[in-house]
């Protein structure tokens, strides 16, 4: 096998898993387009942070995980949620504020979670999930569960104190945590060049005596290979890693973004590096599926999203007297 020059993912995963990975990437893309469209139509209120353009990072990073493994996510967390196995119907129901949603309509886009699948939740606070992921790693180590925790965060979070405190503690206690920075170049409008003293965020791993890797985050195989190695290291009790997936969000930071801080040209260049097209092409090239099969995966994902929106529309609105339900355990009944 030493002369096998095929990409890592093609070597590592069987056709069914690769097809499912493509399906999840399409689901993320169409889910977010559907959410955006529903927002424009006034069906969803509040705001949302779209990860269109970052799908490879979410899906490839979760390839080595089981439902026992945990993830913590970010305000840009729809992709992570789908990658970890959530159903888009219940996600839409959450966005529509319905009882059928993952958080019974109490959380919305910024707190989307699916605890049964090990997704401990998106987070409205930049850096909020970092120490929580370390806590999940502590539980895994103390109870000897063999689980790992993947901690997603953005480039913005790497300048929060919580980032530094979390990485340090994961390292001194050799906890099974993989820190994945999705560096999409901007914390809202402020570029990493203006906000961050190091060129690559992965360099900060040196300060916490853990391996650091900067990866092309739009290359499914490269991400999967790097994260799988970090997961193996974590499961072996050798401690945490820091991985930086270089990627780009096609959309603005949130719904109020007027894109004043970046050029049309830059956006176009990154859109030409679509991670889904790239992965699909790779699968076809290596005869995992043919064009018509790939198209079928996309079509089915689109249909799943459409069905999810219909499911959400027909959902149940929470009752006003239930406003304080779920604040405390005894109020759940």
């Amino acid at each position: 096998m030493t002369d096998d020059n095929r990409p890592f993912a093609i070597r590592k995963y069987d056709a069914a898993r690769l097809r499912d990975a493509l399906r999840k990437m399409y689901l993320i893309r169409f889910f977010e387009e559907g959410a955006e469209d529903s927002y424009m139509r006034g069906l969803i209120h509040g705001t949302m942070h779209l990860s269109i353009g970052q799908e490879a990072s979410a899906v490839a990073s979760c390839m080595g995980l089981t439902d026992e493994d945990k993830i913590t996510s970010t305000h840009r967390g729809h992709g992570h949620c789908i990658a970890k196995g959530a159903e888009v119907g219940r996600m839409f129901a959450e966005f529509f504020g319905k009882e059928e949603g993952y958080c019974h309509g109490r959380g919305g886009s910024m707190h989307i979670a699916d605890v049964t699948k090990g997704n401990l939740g998106a987070n409205g606070i930049v850096g909020g999930g970092l120490p929580i992921a370390v806590g999940a790693g502590l539980t895994a180590k103390r109870l000897n569960t063999g689980a790992v925790a993947i901690c997603f965060f953005g480039d913005g979070a790497n300048n929060e104190g919580a980032f530094h405190e979390a990485l340090n503690m994961a390292a001194i206690w050799k906890l099974p945590v993989v820190f994945i920075c999705e560096n999409n170049k901007y914390g809202m409008s402020t570029s990493t060049e203006r906000s961050t003293a190091v060129k690559n965020i992965a360099e900060r791993a040196v300060a916490y005596a853990m391996p650091g890797h900067t990866v092309d985050g739009n290359d499914f195989s490269a991400v999967a290979e790097t994260v799988e190695a970090a997961i193996a290291r974590a499961r072996a009790g050798e401690g945490p890693s820091l991985i930086e997936n270089l990627t780009y969000r096609w959309r603005g930071h949130s719904k109020s973004d007027r894109n004043r801080y970046r050029s049309k040209q830059e956006i176009d260049e990154w859109m030409a590096r679509d991670p889904i097209q790239r992965f699909r092409k790779e699968l076809v090239e290596h005869a995992i599926l043919d064009e018509s099969e790939a198209e079928k995966v996309a079509t089915e994902a689109r249909q799943e999203v459409e069905a999810g929106i219909e499911f959400a529309k027909s959902g149940t609105a929470p009752r006003i007297p239930d406003l304080a339900r779920y604040v405390y355990a005894e109020e759940n009944a």
Binding site: A113, V115, I125, I132, V134, G135, L138, R142, V327
Partner: protein, 339 residues
Amino acid sequence: MNAPAKQPDADIRELSYSEAIREAMGLALERDERVVLMGEDIGVYGGAFQVTGDLVERFGADRVMDTPISELGGAGVAVGAALTGLRPIYEFQFSDFAALAMEQIVNQAAKMRYMLGGEASVPVVFRMPAGSGTGAAAQHSQSFEAWFGHVPGLKVVQPSTPEDAKGLLLAALEDPDPVVMFEHKLLYKMKGHVPEGWYTTQIGKSAIRRHGKDVTIVASAIMVHRALAAAEKLAGEGIEAEIIDLRSVRPIDGETIIGSVRKTGRLLCVYEGVRTLGIGAEISAMIAESEAFDFLDAPVLRLGGAEAPIPYNPDLEKAAVPQIPDIEAAARRLARREV
């Protein structure tokens, strides 16, 4: 020869407040593999106030974990551990340092269950050595219980006796939601009866420490003892104060307080936190909105911390929080209707 000293029986076994807390943590560590203690210098050092003491020797450094000086991260690790199946007790060296961890306590722990629609639980306990009187000045002497009491999703307790310190800590551990326990530093050495074994003190229930018909004094933490001392002096003047030990800031025990004020018609709130927007304001408003309002014979009074940081100079420090003569004078004015 003197008669032999009476042997203390098990019922009147005495422990200090800090020993009672340590005993609770030891019982919890013994009983439940999921319990871990976390905090700064809680291992071989034994904790800044020697509350964890020898627990590291009994249970090992994996369960009595010294953390780096990282309050935000440490509190967050405790939150994440609680969310995924452990039962962490996180000790802040001083409650003042919880200001560094507000994000994890207020934005994460308190809201997690709600944000996730009841699908998750964060059974974490934060222990907070609090209060003034140690000469440690402005950043090591504060009383933040009202801050945390303002956050739905948290429970906040303030034991005033060794028995309650143990019982409330064990209740906090059994509670599926995050609990913040304020421990007054001046109480750590106070001795009192502590039952053996595992028992819990109900969170949200106050205790009447002294019965009286003339004036109700609601006090918390060390103020309970100062109020009791003041009550003894007042009794000599024929004024019988009823002392309610608040015990729980959130939830607050309205029933007991309202019932007492209906009886006495007079209310004095005594607490160490800054007077404005504090516990006393909440209790006063609660009375104003309740059926006890019609029974009031005098305005409600509050004695709280000064509108200033806790000063270093010992005389100033004493003057910054209610003392026994202050309580005595305020209760006397109320009883004599001099307000």
